[in-house]
Amino acid sequence: MAYARNQLKLVVVGHVDHGKSTLIGRLFYDTGSLPEGKYDQLVAIAQRRGVPFEFANLMDGLQAERDQNITIDTAQIWFRTAKREYVIIDAPGHKEFVKNMVTGASRADAALIIIDASEGVQEQTRRHGYLLRLIGVRQVVVVVNKMDLVDYSQKVFDKVSGEYGAFLKSIGLAMPTILPVSARHGDNIASRGDHFSWFTGPSVLSALDAIPDAAETTDQPLRFPIQDVYRFDHRRILAGRIEAGVLRTGDQLLFLPSGRTSVVRSIESWNSPQVDALKAGDPAGVTLSDQLFVERGSVAVHAADAPSLATEFTARIFWLGRTPLAAGKRYKLKLVTQEVECEIKTLEEVIDASTVQTIPGADSVRTNDAAKVVIRTRRPVAVDLFERVPTLGRLVLVDGFDVAGGGIVIDVPERFAAANVVAEAGVNADVSQVARGERHLRHGHRGAVVWLTGVPGSGKTTLAKSLERHLFERHIQVFVLDGDNIRPGLSADLGVSGPEREENMRRVAEVAKLFAEAGSVCIVSFTSPSRAERERARKIMDVSDGPSIPFLEAYLGGTNDASSQYEPPEHPEISLAENIGLDERVNRVLEHLMRQIR
């Protein structure tokens, strides 16, 4: 979002019938912002209908809204004070229309929360406060309205403001301005009026004028998500918008998730002054000094201050979908121009947004409620913590054809930190070859070798098959090497003992390494009785130009090991005694393996 100076977008929220439209109508009337004749026209319409004129009618546009007397969508209108221009976003207070409130609030720089003094804090008062926090609106003014109905009582005001101030503090919105008004009578809107001699705070207009201007986001790290790549006039232009930071001609850009780099050759535009730098909010078109393949969804950053590249992270979400959000179900995740299939791995906490209390034991998130979830994506996503770079720390979830929820990223596991990924991706990788790190990014995991060793009958084949199935279900590339697929082909020329058996084990280890280098987890299931043979296999996994391939030796122990020619390993990564069941064996291997390959 680009911010204009001297303009503040203000969303007005609160429980239904607490007087939002009346307050807005009054703000317009008091600042002389109404179109000529509008006031007289509405008074005349009210007379024709035989109802008293209400300031609330100024905001009503749709017939349905007049009929139901509730604001069903967000409308936006403008008024001006000596300090600045305000764009008012009127958000509905009815529970059915929370998605409209979210739509309105997401455009806002600040919020005006309105509470009916006679009714006090209600369901939507809390829900809206909580949603504002999730949406990222930090500037809040709270107005306790309809003070005329409670005889302008300071006691009532103190009770309501105390309760709601404490609530806002509990959700991390500290120190809002809270003030009493009567919108209907115009008390304490533009000026103090006669009824609030006991109140020493500001009027609504002066509280609004005291809100600081929206901050620029140029001091954040560069985030340039690619919207599209155009080929016009023999130029290949990467088009998008700078979402954070500054981009300059000559900058070295790192593209995620590919890990490729190139230099900004030129900043392109049409009928605009030539510039050599673009800042957050600017539309961007750049050409690169290399013929790099870049597509929509890539995010260009500076390598020194890159985001995480993650397939798993924790988010606080709000849910607007018609059907509840459930763990295990698949959704489309959109984060800037990145789109990827995802699932909710775990529902850590489900929150009733009307009370902002945890719902114990809830296994889904209902419409208009919230949750803390762990999201797992099919492919790696460039992502920042919301608190650090808001534009790259917020996502929406699409269920079927519909945008059904939104969320902010609050935690990304350390293993996805930018530095690891950037180093792995091979920042200076030769364009002509696929770097190991790129395979990692594509698959969402590294390659590895799991070497199952044990005497015949110890359960190697059963464990190998079970592991293969589990890993496959988790979208991990996996393949099993055993006597059945090695002996008839690759080692058809070899016998089963002495040097020929050693040669067979060497070939198996080399093939396992190739699988791992190609990005797969290779499970080797051979008795492999000789300790020296297994140690040689481990050494084969060393790679000259990078980290060794993870090699996990899993020893399936047996009672007759000692009596056979079998040499048990001295320090296996995983040791599985005879009395351990299959499920537990699978779990133990997975525990070790997943840490190595994620």
């Binding site: 680009a2 004749g37 409308a75 403008w78 909010g281 607007l320 929406v396 945008v403 939104g406």
Partner: protein, 272 residues
Amino acid sequence: MHTDHLDALESESIFIMREAFAKFDNMAMLWSIGKDSTALLWLARKAFFGHVPFPLVHIDTSYKIPSMIEYRDRLVREWNLQLVVGMNKAVLEAGNTYPNGRATRVECCGMLKKDGLQQVIEHYGYTGIIVGVRRDEDATRAKERYFSPRNANMEWNASDQPPEFWNQFKTDFAPGTHIRIHPLLHWTELNVWEYIEREKIPVIPLYFDDGTGHRYRSLGCAPCTGSIQSTAKTVAEIVTELKGTNVPERAGRAQDQESEDAFEKLRRDGYM
């Protein structure tokens, strides 16, 4: 590096048009020849580096003021545009239009513009239509989304619209439906003129006083569009005039005044 309000609006409109172009395989832009959709056309050329990579649809009611058509055809040549002209020929041939036929102003708008547009959308199979409507024009347009779905009958369900936040839009939709894209939604009439002045966009001279002391503020069909009293002869004079007015922009558009909810009903049924 300074951002003023026009830069911010321009950036937002460009972002939206690029999103639309990336997400819709078969998209077109409505061009009424008026100031808004011509400013939008200019923004498209900015977004796509001097090009307009999709067709422009002009719904010709046959009642347009003749100089509008001349101006249209000149820009098509000079700016190298692809133009698609839609016209509801059946209704025009039947002669059932306002003011000579039996139709009211609103019915006439519905047939010539709304139905004319529907015929073009169905014929070309467009799934995305860029339209230059603005929130400040009218209360119903104030409720619009940037990406606003229409069902197979082009109807707008104003009371159940998709959420739209964090620059993520509704770009997934059922077959047979289409999405209206509104890049100018948050511009005001004044913003549009300020932008025309800054960018020196050529606009049709009907907007200026031709020496009679009148000019058009909003352009539509000749029988239903009235001029306003004004001596503004340049874009700069229009900007000055607008800063001092409290009269609604569409006050000269007679079809809106037939009943309290005339324009609202037209829009629900698929009017732009």
